[in-house]
């Protein structure tokens, strides 16, 4: 029972980590909150579904879904967010909320308001024992998340681009003067961040065998809780926070039961942790 809940929590935490990572990367460099990152989650799921239905290949589903959604991210940062950078951060926050609503309505108009089935064959078989019940889609989620986060970790910690990313996050102006093309850093941020959110959307679509236009709504506000909890702008903090929230939801929900809806648990955890660590789980100073 405990192991079951634990695995369940890690699966949910993985999805949250991938969804929130883009917002964390963007905050890290631009100091703005991008709610539309959760729009990328829904968009990615739809693009993924379309790709899967036309090609039948799960690999292509991920590649096309992540790539197109990532390019959409590059586009909106160029057209929308970068021109707003010299305004107050609230301006881009509100713009991102607007864009998020616009995107989910656009999806509704193009793909229709009803739930669409996403029945994908997963390359992992489910494991059923007396005490344990592990869905193949769960394994897909854990493995994919691990791979994507490993790639990100490598990029940030072992490459010159990663060094430049960290320098830019710490002092954008000086990084520029040292030769870092910060426009490219920001574009890369969006390519990766929206791509990761797309992967999360695709996997949740597969897990629940369905996608719908407003599927990004709940991730949008949970993502906020997670990036705040993770210390705003810290990729490692985001993964930890996502796991904490994922585990809290399953463990509290599974064992104690809860008088509030499950989706509220994230915020109860957020409030409690911020009471003790006002700067989040991982804080710079």
């Amino acid at each position: 029972m405990f192991l079951q809940q634990l695995i369940n929590g890690i699966v949910i935490g993985s999805v949250y980590a991938l969804t929130a990572m883009g917002a964390t990367l963007v905050y890290g460099i631009m100091r703005i909150l991008d709610i539309n990152n959760a729009g990328a989650y829904a968009l990615g799921a739809y693009v993924g579904l379309l790709t899967y239905n036309t090609t039948g290949s799960l690999l292509l589903t991920f590649i096309v879904g992540m790539l197109l959604t990532g390019l959409y991210g590059v586009l909106v940062q160029k057209l929308l967010y970068v021109p707003m950078l010299d305004k107050s951060p609230n301006v881009s926050l509100i713009a991102s909320i607007g864009l998020f609503i616009f995107l989910s309505d656009l999806i509704r108009m193009v793909a229709g308001p009803s739930i669409k089935g996403f029945h994908a064959e997963v390359p992992f078989s489910s494991i059923y024992t007396d005490s344990l019940n592990i869905n193949g889609a769960w394994i897909l989620i854990i493995v994919t998340t691990f791979l994507l986060l490993a790639v990100l970790w490598f990029l940030l910690n072992k490459t010159k681009i990663g060094l430049a990313w960290k320098a830019t996050a710490q002092d954008l102006e000086t990084a520029k003067a040292m030769g870092v093309n910060v426009n490219m850093m920001v574009a890369l941020n969006y390519l990766l961040g929206y791509g990761f959110a797309a992967a999360a959307g695709i996997m949740v679509g597969i897990l629940y065998s369905s996608v719908f236009p407003t599927m990004g709504d709940v991730p949008a506000y949970k993502m906020l809780a997670i990036i705040v909890l993770g210390g705003l702008g810290s990729p490692v903090g985001t993964v930890i926070a996502a796991m904490v929230i994922g585990l809290a939801e399953t463990l509290i929900g599974g064992y104690i039961g809860f008088f509030l809806p499950r989706d509220a648990i994230a915020f109860v955890v957020l409030i409690i942790i911020l009471l003790f660590r006002p700067r989040g789980l991982i804080s710079k100073n």
Binding site: L163, K166, Q170, D171, T174, A177, M178, G179, V180, N181
Partner: protein
């Protein structure tokens, strides 16, 4: 090597630089002196491309670079020691140095330059894995200088290198940059410590309220009565 031509800079409505023109020749050491708020840092940032002037042009090695972003200017080997050090606080000393050489793809040259930096500032070598923010103010200034050395600059911009340093370190800093100049690096420096700034420079400019009011050989400025009164303590 560097030429500013009619530079006007505004912050919102207020004007910070008025029609600033100046020229720095290859191999020269030029100091700009001026009081707080005169616009010294603004000149440096404008040359580095961190501030866009409303009017005026900037030539580097004969090329108009006014439209080039900062990172291109760094790639043309314009080095920069910013006001207040601005080392990357959560990067190690070594990573900070590597950022100075960010534009270079020549790893052999980078390693060689890094060794030179560690030879000049042994302290940095001893602490290469330490986070920059845990270094003392003086060590951070050494790091900022070392980072600029890593750029292998043709032109080095220096903004108040003496700020917050004890006299011994001020002398060390000045002797290091004088040595760089002797090795052929062109230097444009702004300083409040006018005495020291003019002592090491070939030429000096006096900046008042965003305008260059004097330009002359450094020794002439040192002998000029009104400048002595205003900037050199009589």
């Amino acid at each position: 090597m560097l030429k500013l031509d009619g530079i006007n800079v505004f912050y919102d409505q207020s004007q910070a630089l008025y029609d600033v023109s100046l020229q720095v020749e290859q191999g020269e050491f030029v100091s700009i002196i001026g009081a707080n708020g005169a616009g010294k840092t603004t000149i440096m940032k404008t040359v580095m491309g961190l501030i866009k002037p409303a009017q005026g042009r900037i030539f580097f090695e004969g090329k108009d670079i006014i439209k080039r972003p900062s990172w291109d200017r760094a790639g043309m080997r314009i080095g920069y020691i910013p006001e207040g050090r601005r080392v990357f606080p959560d990067l190690s000393v070594e990573d900070n140095l590597l950022m100075g050489a960010y534009h270079s793809k020549n790893n052999v040259e980078i390693a060689k330059t890094m060794k030179e930096v560690y030879d000049v500032f042994t302290r940095l070598g001893e602490r290469k894995n330490q986070l920059a923010k845990t270094m003392s103010g003086g060590e951070q200034q050494m790091l900022a200088i070392g980072r600029a050395l890593m750029t292998k600059p043709k032109l080095l911009l220096i903004d108040e290198i003496s700020m917050g340093l004890m006299p011994l370190l001020v002398n060390k800093a000045f002797s290091v940059i004088k040595e760089m100049n002797n090795q052929g690096i062109t230097i444009l420096m702004v300083e409040q410590n006018a005495k020291k700034a003019l002592a090491v420079a070939d030429r000096g400019c006096v900046l008042e309220m965003g305008q260059i009011v004097h330009q002359d050989l450094a020794e002439n400025l040192q002998d000029n009565d009104s400048i002595r009164k205003a900037y050199l303590g009589g």
